[in-house]
């Protein structure tokens, strides 16, 4: 297919803002929810801003359903107001001087519909999102969850071809977030066009997205399904998000020498060269003495640097070669009498170690 016939969103662009530079190549197919996950200042909002037309790209291009909306080479630029894009902002940005129904009718009105037609469209979306009873309230009188739904209704009422969501749930308290998340998932699956959802919350990304892009320092560092990303994190940041220990090392068949010190016996998949090794904190056994280990197990000494209670288990921060985060039961902590500064032995089965090359962790270079 030539680029001009690709449906959905195609972006291959660079955005420079002062010292910061964002360089991404991504696609989002109609009906697909692409989660963009990354730490603060990774360039997530800049990405949405460029796609919406609020910031022009400094190189490359953005296409929407085959139409060039921004191209730094040819100078083509479609103003934000002309782009068929719905944007749900992190802080919602509901117009404080307009009622809920007027907020939702704003886009149909601005796009040239008459007052009555805009009102009908607004009522349709308010009904669909279960907001009819709030029609005449001001945004200031809404709860966080209601405001979030109004923001979504307002974005959808403009009949956009592409939906952009910037941290849609971050302004909500934990309790509301779960309810809204479930509901949002339903509405996103009803949306026919592509959807780009930016978040720094891994759970939100795992639940809502069909595919994930991990953005760090203005670069895409990993791309894949939520399952792939959760199992084979490509960077320290992703590993932390999905709660895994991640080690870089050099593989030679069943043996991996870790870059940071230490080594692992792993299942022999004839891997050679640089690899990443992921290890679940719950897959490590803590013993007071050196355990008797078979050749298929790894055992190494470590010192407890810290203990944190996580609802039903205790996370141990262990320093050694290699260091690791390990989850044990509170009972085990009591039985073994574990405390900070104690010397313990860690062991894990070779089969618990997920070994993969960096290239396997991500469909890097956008090759689909």
């Amino acid at each position: 297919m030539t680029p001009s016939t690709v449906p959905g969103l195609v972006a291959d662009a660079e955005v420079t803002r002062g010292d910061f530079s964002l360089r991404v190549a991504l696609t989002a197919a109609p009906g697909e929810v692409v989660g963009v996950l990354g730490p603060n200042a990774a360039g997530k909002s800049t990405l949405l801003s460029a796609i919406a037309g609020l910031t022009p790209v400094s190189a490359g291009h953005i296409l929407l359903d085959g139409q060039v909306v921004d191209d730094a080479n040819s100078g083509t630029f479609l103003e934000a107001a002309q782009r068929p894009v719905g944007f749900v902002f992190q802080d919602y940005r509901l117009f404080p001087h307009l009622s809920v129904v007027d907020n939702v009718a704003f886009s149909p009105r601005a796009r040239g519909h008459g007052r009555a037609a805009a009102r009908t469209a607004a009522d349709h979306w308010l009904t669909r999102l279960g907001l009819t009873e709030f029609s005449h309230r001001r945004p200031a009188d809404l709860s966080g969850g209601q405001a979030q739904r109004v923001a979504l209704a307002r974005a959808l009422a403009g009949n956009p071809a592409l939906l952009l969501l910037d941290e849609p749930l971050s302004a909500l308290d934990a309790r509301t977030r779960l309810d809204v998340q479930t509901e949002l998932k339903r509405h996103l699956s009803d949306f026919a066009g592509p959807c780009l959802l930016v978040t720094h919350d891994p759970l939100e990304a795992l639940v809502l997205a069909d595919r994930l892009l991990v953005l760090e320092h203005g670069q895409i560092v990993q791309e894949g399904t939520p399952a792939q990303v959760a199992r084979r994190p490509a960077t320290e940041y992703v590993a932390k998000l999905v709660g895994l220990n991640l080690y870089a090392g050099t593989a030679d068949g069943a043996h991996v020498t870790l870059t940071g010190g230490g080594h692992f016996v792993v299942p022999d998949h004839h891997q050679r060269g640089e690899v990443l090794v992921a290890l679940r904190p719950s897959a490590v056994v803590v013993s007071p003495h050196r355990p008797d280990v078979s050749s298929a197990r790894n055992a190494w000494p470590a010192t407890i640097a810290g203990l944190t209670l996580l609802t039903d288990r205790v996370r141990l921060d262990l320093r050694g070669h290699p260091s690791a985060l390990v989850d044990v039961t509170p009972a085990a902590v009591a039985e073994l009498g574990l405390g900070a500064g104690d010397q313990v032995w860690l062991s894990t089965k070779a089969t618990e170690l997920e070994v993969y090359s960096h290239a396997d962790s991500a469909d890097q270079g956008m090759g689909h």
């Binding site: 609020l54 934000a80 894009v85 117009f95 404080p96 001087h97 704003f106 601005a110 796009r111 403009g158």
Partner: protein
């Protein structure tokens, strides 16, 4: 060694106040108190004198017998028209100053806010030079259209607009600068063209400042004296506004001057009450 600190008495009430507000002593040092009292007296005593000296008994007949009604009427409608004109052209100017960037923008801002500090009489002279019968613009207005501006109610309105509009422009520009641009971005993503954004989002969001600026502008227009008397003269019923009427009445009929002044004082108090949220809360406003 310094002498031991002598404890002073602290009343129960003062203890409670300090506990509540968390502040320390609130007593005013004498070197600050005396000048503060002088300043207060200077500002308040003359106005109090105005109220005390007023011939309250004959107020109605005096006001009716003078040109006061005419002057008040003229002042009210000319300053209202001046405010309307200021809104019509001053708000777009404020938007340009706040939202655009081009070489010479700073110079433009300086020029249009100059009347804030310019002696009004200079404004009057300038207007006369521009729009007078022999002025570089007025000449052609006279020759081509037979329009003569000086010494007409139109001249009153122009003088008032010249002096008062910068107050509106400065107030609205400040509001536009501090307004959250996020709402305008949101409006753009919802398909609104720039003019629609201005009309439906920007203006409503700065409405409180717009109102304050308009009231301030109106009050300044109402009190205008120097530019008006220079450019429009003092023809009773035609160009003699309240402040000018007060000035002339002082020579012929002091009682009428006092009453006319009280009317203006009353209007000022009403304006101040209207603006209390914006101007009277001191440092904590906004």
């Amino acid at each position: 060694m310094s002498p031991p600190a002598a404890p002073s008495k602290l009343s129960r009430r003062e203890r409670k106040r300090r506990a509540m507000s968390g502040g320390g002593s609130r007593s005013v040092p004498a070197p600050l108190l005396a000048p503060a009292l002088v300043a207060t007296a200077f500002l308040v005593v003359p106005l109090a004198g105005l109220v005390l000296r007023a011939p309250w008994g004959d107020a109605w007949s005096i006001l009716h017998g003078s040109d006061a009604a005419q002057a008040l009427q003229l002042s009210l409608w000319t300053s209202t028209v001046a405010t309307a004109i200021s809104l019509l052209v001053g708000v777009p100017l404020a938007w340009v100053l706040a939202r655009t960037d081009f070489p010479g923008l700073r110079l433009l801002r300086a020029l249009v806010t100059l009347p804030l500090v310019l002696p009004p009489v200079v404004g009057g002279v300038a207007l006369l030079l521009a729009f007078g019968r022999n002025g570089f613009l007025g000449r052609y207005l006279d020759q081509w259209f037979g329009i003569t501006i000086p010494f007409s109610p139109t001249a009153v309105i122009m003088a008032e607009t010249f002096v008062a509009m910068p107050f509106l422009v400065v107030t609205v520009e400040g509001a536009l600068r501090s307004a959250d641009r996020g709402f305008e971005e949101a409006a753009a993503t919802l398909g609104a063209q720039r003019m629609t954004v201005f009309r439906r989002v920007t203006v409503p969001l700065v409405a409180p400042s717009l109102g304050a600026g308009a009231v301030l502008c109106w009050a300044r227009a109402l009190g205008e004296f120097g530019a008006t008397i220079t450019f429009a003269g003092s023809f009773p019923g035609r160009t003699q506004t309240m402040p000018i009427a007060v000035y002339y009445a002082l020579e012929t009929d002091p009682d009428a001057a006092i009453l006319l002044s009280l009317v203006l004082l009353l209007v000022s108090v009403v304006v101040l009450v209207t603006l209390r949220d914006k101007w009277l809360r001191g440092g904590t406003a906004q």
